[in-house]
Amino acid sequence: MGFLNLFKRSPDKSGSGGTQSADRGIMVFDNTSEVIRAETVIRENGWRVRVMGPPAEIRTGCDLVIEFPLIEHLNIRRLLEDAGVEPLQTVPVTGPLLEPVDIFFTKDFGAFLMVRAANMKITIDKQSSVIVNISGGGCPDVPFLAMEMVGKKLNDAPRPCSIGHTLCGYALDLAYEEIQRQYQCLQ
């Protein structure tokens, strides 16, 4: 998933070479899962955009927005219409946007490995890669994600970004990708 490029291992070079915020806009969507879908579509078509926190005046509680180069507004809008994932509104960026956390914490329990991203933790059995626990978070998709993922191997479990809908789901996806990377290093 492209949005994982937000993290430090792959620093973002959004837009056409580091444009200033005056050249940027944000697209606001109905929910986080639409943001993730839209971001995937946009990136697959070659644009570099960033997923960010919304400005305070349009914040509701569990939000992400897509920051994009304003000059590409019509093209991106058309692309999203074709993909059936249209933003609720598009507005220019007038101030700094919130950036997602970009720090992972890892804990080795011997036979088990745990990774935390933001407020979400995922733990696997190091030998089998079976997800043995998911903890943390406060949004209502966390128990759902745990129900769908715990007991399955990393490669067999659904990606949190494919079935989650909130910032906690998004954070869990970041932890998921990191623990998968670390598991591959163990092999």
């Binding site: 899962s33 569990c62 935390r116 933001a118 043995v132 626990n133 903890s135 789901g169």
Partner: protein
């Protein structure tokens, strides 16, 4: 009677208000003309199961649950918020605990207005998504207890973060400096009257600083187990709900959960229901 508000991971689960009971690893809730069964594996079901254990142990009436199904889209949460707004002002509860729910500032404020209209104000406890909304709304001081983990304490301490996902790195790095985070959270009015911080060491704090630290017994594997924080909040809901003083209830909740956790002899793959069943023994030792 006290109540717990939260969600279950099933979009078809209706809005239900009713008393709960636990049988084995299943939570039963009476409501909407039938008894609903929910596995006790994490989330609000685990919280309610822990609260129920307290009530059963002390021979008190079981907690009442306000539940709805929500897998993250927020539709169920909004129906539950609406039910609370419509019914809370005419209700009587000794304590109200808010848990997993889609954070939504507007709906949070409506529910808080309804609470303010109750004839007797209950002890207000907020955890998980509702705590996020309470902090973001600027109404944190209206609550009696927040129950963050260390990462969420950093979120409370970051005055600009609307969700733990946006906690700034320089604050996250203060993970081992709980006193500073507590001070910062209160300094920006982003904490409840008391904080019960869940972590390697559980902390009870108020505006004056850390009141108590509970670090024993220490069982490292508990950090990885989903739902251990829900147990602590459930114990707190139960103890305050049956009349315990808040600081005493915070300290006891931390101790009971640690004892039950140790008794389960867990590894990082242990499930939370294996810990909940040890709560009665832990309560025995507390007495």
């Amino acid at each position: 009677m006290f109540a717990v508000v939260g969600t279950v991971p099933d979009d078809d689960f209706p809005v239900v208000k009713g008393a709960v009971f636990v049988d084995g690893d299943v939570l039963h809730v009476e409501g909407s003309g039938r008894i609903h069964e929910i596995p006790i594996n994490r989330g609000t079901a685990a919280l309610l199961a822990a609260a129920f254990m307290v009530c059963r142990y002390f021979g008190k009436p079981a907690p009442e649950a306000f539940l709805v199904g929500d897998t993250g889209r927020g539709h169920g949460s909004r129906r539950l918020y609406q039910r609370l707004e419509e019914t809370l002002s005419d209700s009587f509860y000794t304590s109200l605990t808010f848990h997993y729910i889609q954070p939504d500032v507007d709906w949070h404020n409506r529910v808080l207005f309804a609470v303010e209209e109750m004839k007797t104000r209950p002890i207000l406890i907020a955890d998980a998504g509702f705590m996020y909304a309470a902090k973001m709304s600027g109404q944190a001081p209206a609550y009696d207890v927040f129950t963050p983990d260390m990462g969420e304490l950093a979120f409370l301490a970051d005055e600009s973060a609307p969700h733990p996902f946006y906690t700034r790195g320089f604050i996250l790095h203060e993970n081992n400096r709980a006193p500073q985070l507590v001070e910062r959270a209160y300094g920006h009015d982003n904490a409840a009257r008391y904080l019960l911080v869940k972590g390697a060491q559980d902390l009870i704090a108020d505006r004056s600083g850390i009141l108590e630290t509970v670090g024993e017994p220490s069982t490292e594997a508990l950090e990885a187990i989903g739902g251990t924080g829900d147990i602590i909040t459930g114990l707190l809901a139960g103890l305050t709900g049956i009349g315990w003083d808040i600081p005493d209830a915070c300290t006891a909740s931390a101790r009971i959960s640690r004892e039950a956790g140790r008794d389960a002899n867990p590894d990082p793959g242990t499930q939370v229901s294996d810990i909940i069943r040890h709560i009665p023994e832990a309560l025995d030792r507390l007495r």
